[in-house]
Structure formats: structure tokens, C-alpha cells
């Protein structure tokens, strides 16, 4: 096929021997774009939630309300660090899976990521078990409980998604077809970790400022 085939169409290959690849990844894969926009939607929601927190905080004199203890920092910070680390194994799996010699990386790495995120969940559960106020107590309680619940819900979502992805990977499905799927999971997982960091900053630092 001659070059005149597509005048003014830069980059369109006209070489007739080329065949377009079927398994796309990165910015070539539509699923990755889809997850990026899902993340944008949820990130907007999170930012508006944090802004709502500040808005209600500015409307009152004392925050937390009189008689309510300030949140402790030690264990929540440890939990937050665990969650921030949790996407790392998936990133490592994606990198080493480029090497055909180590296609068992995803089945080995996903459980580690899940374990780290579960640590966050356990610490959260323990922390809220000890709370002496509920969401029904006051607006501060409503914000605190709902934001933590939202973060926890998302960690559960990535744990479930990780479990499904792990099941696929043990069947050997991931190598060829779903590298983009694993990338999508990683993007979402990182978002969940960073989103909960935003809430962490709001819930634990604003009251002590």
C-alpha cells in the first residue's frame, strides 16, 4: 500500500504487513481510562466531603464539641501507613510480570496487598469500637463516622476486587488478557489509599489544629 493512502493523516500506519495489537495496556487500554474517570468522580466527591467538614467546622466555636475527646493519632497513623503501603505489592507484581519467567508474581503479591489493607481495617474497627460517641450524637460524630465508613467501604471494595483478581490470576488468566485489568486495580487501589489519606488529614488533624 502506498504512502498516499492517507494524505494528511500523520501516524496512521499504511504498511500492509502490520497487524494491530489486541492486548492493550496503560494509556492505550480503554479500561484504564475508564477507571481514571471513575477515580475522578470519586475524588470530586471526597474533596466536597472534606470541604463540607471544614464548612461545618467553621460554623461552631469548639471542635470537637465540648466534652468530646480529640482523636488519638498513634494507631490511626499506623493504620494509614499500612493502607498507603498496601498497593505496593501490586505495583511490584505488575513490574515483574513483564518478565515471562515470573508469571506467578500476581498470585503471590495480591495476598500481601490484601493483608496490609486488612491491617488498616482491623485498626479502624478497634478504634471505632472504643469511641464514646455515635453518628447520632452531634454533627461532629456524623462527619467522623460517615467519613470513616466511606473509607472502610472502599477498602472492602478493593479487598473484594483483589480477591477476584487473585482467583483469576491463579487460573493463569492474568498474563495475556488482563494486565490492563491489574493496572486498573492498582490505579483504584492507590486512589483508595490516597483518598483515605485526605480523610485522615481532615478527621485527625483539623480537630487538633
Amino acid at each position: 500500500m502506498s504512502r498516499e493512502l492517507l494524505p494528511g493523516t500523520p501516524g496512521v500506519p499504511s504498511d500492509s504487513s502490520d497487524s494491530l495489537p489486541l492486548h492493550l495496556e496503560g494509556t492505550r487500554a480503554p479500561i484504564v481510562w475508564g477507571v481514571v474517570f471513575l477515580v475522578l468522580i470519586e475524588a470530586t466527591l471526597l474533596c466536597l466531603w472534606a470541604v463540607s467538614y471544614l464548612y461545618l467546622r467553621m460554623g461552631v466555636e469548639s471542635w470537637p464539641p465540648p466534652g468530646v475527646a480529640r482523636p488519638g493519632l498513634l494507631w490511626p497513623t499506623i493504620g494509614q501507613l499500612l493502607l498507603l503501603l498496601s498497593p505496593m505489592p501490586i505495583w511490584i507484581a505488575l513490574r515483574s510480570a513483564r518478565d515471562p519467567a515470573s508469571d506467578d508474581a500476581p498470585p503471590r503479591m495480591i495476598p500481601i496487598a490484601m493483608l496490609l489493607a486488612s491491617g488498616y481495617l482491623a485498626l479502624k474497627a478497634w478504634e471505632y469500637w472504643e469511641k464514646d460517641y455515635l453518628w447520632t450524637s452531634h454533627a461532629y460524630g456524623s462527619l467522623d463516622w460517615s467519613m470513616s465508613a466511606y473509607a472502610v467501604f472502599h477498602v472492602i471494595v478493593v479487598l473484594l476486587a483483589g480477591a477476584v483478581m487473585w482467583a483469576f490470576s491463579t487460573r493463569g488468566e492474568l498474563q495475556e488478557r488482563s494486565r490492563a485489568g491489574l493496572q486498573a486495580l492498582l490505579i483504584y487501589w492507590v486512589f483508595v489509599a490516597l483518598g483515605s489519606l485526605l480523610f485522615f488529614g481532615t478527621q485527625y488533624l483539623v480537630p487538633i489544629l
Binding site: 494491530l20 495489537p21 489486541l22 471513575l38 466527591l45 461545618l56 447520632t136 473484594l160 483469576f168
Partner: protein
């Protein structure tokens, strides 16, 4: 075009590969973008008729002082449902449906990026709309206005389930709008035909792309605030309860942070429609393509900075108000640029016939300018204080929304009906529809400016005689009935032309965009050969974007066109320059979208009865998502090429 008929084998194979299922399975499992898009549009039109019936009831009640056609409670439900329907169940879903139908055809694709998500979005929309109207049937419709202000809608003032239906079903609906937005963005950015770089994209697609980005950033505000209200009402939270440290004004901020952009979410696609229709009837490319696109982008961005103009009377510091007043007035500049671009297109073109799509486009320009002028008036703070919550506001936003969104939607229906159905709408009935609707609209809504000046507040179910409001209210009701007459003509036209209209042929208007290169209605696969785009008006610049034919195509292109493995192949191109990057295999019909929508219905609708149903629905949704993502072949089975090969 000749290549289509030249290759009957290819036609049959692609037709089979891309065919939606038959019978009841078609209803439950179809994912094709044209099936889903058409469903969105037809459903939205049914909701338009319902909202119109509510409007007629409202106008009859207000025709004279002290009438008792609607009780105060029935009146509250009628105007709340009218507003909520027009905003949430008609305008946005119709435009989404139009985009879902047209965008792949306009960018030369065979399918949207995520077809099952598309189908899921429709089911969510249908279920939410039917639930709201189901509640209405039993007298449980929301009744506190379409923007549902707290504290009126708090559990203390409005116990009972009416408001619960609003908060749960509107949140649910936003899920539908959001998935459609993601779907459209990814389709536009990753599935354009090779060669259709961003600067060659049709203006309609640009408008839809910008709208979808606005949905991504605006709708979360509504989801958050209605989630908060649902928690306040159903689980004892205190986000809006001032007595416990909450703040009712938080609702207004979050609602209008969504609400103002939502106006432009309804308006920008309309701008895209008019920018498509006018050049076709004037036989010249749109004047100022780049300016129109940049203006649409500017409107999209600016509209996130003006929400406080709905809250001037709340009592903010004047400095803040001045900022929002200035920002609101600023929006008129890009809007005016677009209007001048349309006028310039008409001026320099050869306007050869004023068919119905053109009539509605011209009507749009007139009404939108009038609505824009009152918009500048009410952006001024002192004037706004004077007419806040009066009929002047009702007049203003009907000029903007009916003029700015409903008229272009009618233009779109008359313009693309031949493509969708294969038959033309009747032109004589079309002009009856236009003139009845246009004259009726002005008779109904122009007097409301004056009634507003005279002090009549909105949302009152009746008024006393002798306030000077009687004559104009009666006139307004007459206008509403004339509009209703126009709608009867319209529905008659739709039904009659669907069954027996004149055959349209592939390109009845001499269009410039790729959808007119397909048959009417398009075949299952949209394009027999993947088109290659070399300019901004592919059908005008380039008589045959399909060339070279199959035999002479490079292998990568032939493969895409041929579906060699009996799978739904689609080209993936780069976001900016539309260089081919690869192939994607699109999913075949699936029941999971419906399952997922029903599972979430258990959560959302169930929450009204008991919160224990929320986790049940989520568990069912998890099952759906696993099934959805289960790796499968996506291959057409049982198709025997040899069997059909011999047919002529």
C-alpha cells in the same frame, strides 16, 4: 457507499456478529449503543409527556383565583414532580440517549467503549423514574420542590416517605448519568476513527465531551448532599441539623454547586445540536469552529464558579456577592460568541430551505437570547433581591431551559429521526408543532415576567382575586394549552411517521458528518469498513471515507473491518491525534447489567423500608460484578459462513 453492497458476505458476517439478540432476550440483554440510546430517548419522551401533563394541571389550577382543581398537597407534588422530571428524567437522559446513539456514529465507531455499562445506566434510569412515578401514583411523590431544600425536607418537618423517594431515587439516577458520562468520554477519546484528530471532531461531539466532563465534576455534589440527607432522615445523622452543630445552608451550597452546572449540562449538548443543524441547512461549515468549541469549554469551566447566584438572599457579605455577580455576567460573553457564530453561518451560507429542524434552531436562538437577557438582569444582586422567588424567575428559567434545551431537542428529533427510523417526519405537521409550541410558549411564559414584577410568588397553589394577577394568569394558562396542542401534533407526527413516513434514504439533509454515510437506520455494525477521516467535514470534503476498499486496505485496517474471528472488533486510537493503537473486543449481549441494576435497586429502594436491605443489595451487586468481569471468549457461535455464502 458502493463498497457496502459490493460485499454481501462481509455484510452478512458483520451483521450476525453485531446483531442484538432476539425476542425477550433482546429486551433484557441487548447492549448495542443504538438500542440503548433509543431506549433512553423514547423513555425520556414518555417522561416529557408526563411532565407536560403536570404542567397543564398546574396552569389549570392557576387559571383563575381560588380554584380547587388541585389540593395544596396535590399541587406541591405536581410542581415538584414537574421540575424533577424535566431536569432529571427528561432533559439530561434524553441528551445522554442522543449522545449514546449518535457519538459512535459521528466518530466512526461500531460501539461505545463499555457497552454493558451503557445498558446498566439505562436500567438504573428506568427503575429510578418508574419508582418515582410509582410513588406518585400512590400519593407518595416528593413535594418540596425540585431542589428539595432543608430544613423543610428534614425528618422533623417532612416525616413520611415522600422525600425519601426523592433522596434515594435522585441519587440512584445520578449513577446513571455518571456512568453514561464516563462511557461517552472514553468512547470519544479512545474509539474515534483513524485520522479524526481532536480538531477534526464534529462540534456536537465536542459539546457532548465537555458536557460529560461537567457531569463528572458536578453530579458528585448532588450525590453527596442527597446521601447526607438520606443519612439524616433514615439513620439519625445531623449534617443539616443546626441544633446538633449541622448547617442547613450546606445543602444549598452543595446542591447549587451541582445545580448551576446542571443547567449547562442541559444547554451545551443543545449548542452542539444547533451547531450541527445550521451548517447543514446553510451549506457551509460552521463559522468559527474553534471559537465555538473554546466558548463551550469556557462556559463549562465558568459555570462551576457561579452557584451562589442562587443564594443571593441568604445573607452573605457583599464582597462575595459581587464576585459571583461578575462571574455570572461573564458567562454571557462565550454564549454571545456562539450566537454570533450561528448568525455568521446563516449570513454567509446559502440557506436553501427552512425545514423543521432549522425552525426549532431559529426558535432556540430567539428564546435563548431573551432568557439570556433576563439572566443578566437577575445576576445583578439588588434586582435579584427584588424578584427572588417570584414568577419572574419562573419566566427566566423557562426561557433558558425550554428555549435553550427543549427547542434544540426538538430540532435534534426532526433532524435525526430519519437516521434512526429510516423515515422522515412530516414537514407540515412539523411546522404546526413548531408554531403552536413557539407561540404557546411565549403566551404562557412572557406574562410571567410581569406577574413576577407585580409580586406573585412562585409555588403558591392559588391566589386571591383583585391583586392584578388574574388576567395574565389566565393568558398564561391559554398559552400552556396551545403548547399542549403542539405536543399532541408532535406525538401524532412521531407515531404516524414511524409507521408510514416517507423513506428517508441514508442522507436526507446532505449532512457533513459520518453518521450520514450509514444506511438509515444503520446496520448492526454501523460501518461496513472502518472509515478514515481526512478533514473536519468528512462527507463534504471527501466523497468516500471508506476507500480504499477491502482488498486494497492495509492489513491492520482490513482486519478491523472484517471480524475474522467472529468477534466484535473495534479500533482503539490515541486520544489526541486518533492514530490507531490496537484492537478491542467488545462484549456480546449480557444479563449482568440488568442484574446489577436490580441489585442496587434492592439497596436504594430498600433503604426506604429498612436499612438492612442495603447490604443485601450490595452483596447481590458483588455477584453481578464478578459475573460481569469473568473472562470469556465473546465469540459468535453457530454461524456458518458457507451456508449463507451462496445467497445473492
Amino acid at each position: 457507499m458502493t463498497t457496502r453492497t459490493a460485499d454481501p458476505t462481509l455484510h452478512r458476517r458483520l451483521s450476525a456478529v453485531w446483531a442484538p439478540p432476539k425476542g425477550i432476550w433482546r429486551f433484557l440483554t441487548a447492549v448495542n449503543h443504538r438500542v440503548v440510546g433509543l431506549r433512553f430517548m423514547v423513555t425520556a419522551l414518555v417522561f416529557l409527556l408526563l411532565a407536560g401533563a403536570e404542567a397543564v394541571a398546574i396552569r389549570l389550577q392557576l387559571a383563575q383565583p381560588m380554584l380547587g382543581i388541585l389540593s395544596p398537597e396535590a399541587y406541591n407534588q405536581a410542581f415538584t414532580m414537574h421540575g424533577s422530571t424535566m431536569m432529571f428524567l427528561f432533559a439530561v437522559p434524553f441528551l445522554e440517549g442522543l449522545a449514546i446513539y449518535l457519538v459512535p456514529l459521528m466518530v466512526g465507531a461500531r460501539e461505545m467503549a463499555f457497552p454493558r455499562l451503557n445498558a446498566f445506566g439505562y436500567w438504573v434510569y428506568l427503575i429510578a423514574g418508574v419508582s418515582l412515578y410509582g410513588a406518585y401514583l400512590f400519593g407518595y411523590a416528593p413535594d418540596s420542590g425540585w431542589y428539595n431544600y432543608v430544613p423543610l425536607t428534614g425528618i422533623g418537618f417532612r416525616p413520611g416517605v415522600n422525600i425519601d423517594f426523592w433522596v434515594t431515587m435522585i441519587t440512584f439516577l445520578e449513577v446513571s448519568a455518571l456512568v453514561a458520562a464516563v462511557e461517552i468520554i472514553v468512547t470519544v477519546l479512545k474509539h474515534r476513527a483513524p485520522g479524526m484528530s481532536l480538531d477534526r471532531m464534529p462540534v456536537f461531539v465536542w459539546a457532548i465531551l465537555i458536557t460529560s466532563f461537567m457531569i463528572v465534576f458536578a453530579m458528585p455534589a448532588l450525590m453527596l448532599t442527597s446521601l447526607m440527607l438520606a443519612l439524616d432522615r433514615m439513620a439519625g445523622f445531623h449534617f443539616f441539623n443546626a441544633a446538633a452543630g449541622g448547617d442547613p445552608l450546606l445543602w444549598q451550597h452543595l446542591f447549587w454547586f451541582f445545580g448551576h452546572p446542571d443547567v449547562y449540562i442541559m444547554l451545551l449538548p443543545a449548542v452542539g445540536v444547533v451547531s450541527t443543524v445550521i451548517p447543514v441547512f446553510c451549506r457551509r461549515p460552521l463559522a468559527g469552529y474553534t471559537l465555538v468549541v473554546v466558548s463551550a469549554l469556557a462556559i463549562g469551566i465558568l459555570s462551576f464558579g457561579v452557584w451562589v447566584h442562587h443564594m443571593y438572599t441568604v445573607g452573605f457579605a457583599f464582597v462575595g456577592l459581587s464576585f459571583f455577580a461578575a462571574a455570572s455576567m461573564l458567562i454571557t460573553i462565550p454564549s454571545a460568541i456562539q450566537i454570533f457564530a450561528w448568525i455568521a453561518t446563516i449570513w454567509n451560507g446559502r440557506l436553501h430551505e427552512i425545514a423543521t429542524p432549522m425552525l426549532f434552531s431559529l426558535g432556540f436562538i430567539v428564546l435563548f437570547v431573551l432568557g439570556g437577557i433576563t439572566g443578566i438582569m437577575i445576576a445583578a444582586v439588588p434586582f435579584n433581591w427584588q424578584i427572588h422567588d417570584t414568577y419572574f424567575i419562573v419566566a427566566h428559567f423557562h426561557y433558558v431551559l425550554v428555549g435553550g434545551s427543549v427547542f434544540p431537542i426538538f430540532a435534534a428529533i426532526y433532524f435525526w429521526f430519519p437516521k434512526v427510523v429510516g423515515r422522515r417526519l412530516d414537514e407540515r405537521l412539523g411546522s404546526w408543532h413548531f408554531w403552536l409550541f413557539f407561540i404557546g410558549f411565549n403566551v404562557a411564559f412572557f406574562p410571567m415576567h410581569i406577574i413576577g414584577f407585580e409580586g406573585m410568588p412562585r409555588r403558591v397553589y392559588t391566589y386571591l382575586p383583585g391583586l392584578g394577577w388574574d388576567g395574565l394568569n389566565f393568558l398564561s394558562t391559554v398559552g400552556a394549552l396551545v403548547m399542549a396542542g403542539g405536543m399532541v401534533v408532535f406525538v401524532w407526527n412521531l407515531v404516524a411517521s414511524w409507521r408510514g413516513g416517507a423513506p428517508a434514504g441514508p442522507d436526507p439533509w446532505g449532512g457533513n458528518t459520518l453518521e450520514w454515510s450509514t444506511s438509515s437506520p444503520p446496520e448492526n455494525y454501523n460501518f461496513l469498513l472502518v472509515p478514515i477521516v481526512r478533514g473536519r467535514n468528512p462527507l463534504w470534503d471527501d466523497p468516500s471515507p471508506w476507500e480504499p476498499s477491502l482488498e486494497t486496505r492495509p492489513r491492520w485496517l482490513a482486519e478491523l473491518s472484517e471480524a475474522p474471528d467472529l468477534r466484535r472488533d473495534q479500533v482503539v486510537t490515541s486520544a489526541v491525534t486518533a492514530e490507531p493503537e490496537g484492537r478491542a473486543i467488545m462484549p456480546r449481549p449480557s444479563l449482568w447489567p440488568l442484574w446489577l441494576a436490580l441489585a442496587l435497586t434492592v439497596s436504594f429502594l430498600g433503604a426506604i423500608a429498612t436499612l438492612y436491605l442495603v447490604p443485601v443489595g450490595l452483596a447481590l451487586a458483588f455477584v453481578a460484578l464478578v459475573g460481569w468481569h469473568w473472562p470469556r471468549e465473546e465469540k459468535l457461535v453457530g454461524y456458518n459462513e458457507e451456508e449463507v455464502n451462496d445467497e445473492p
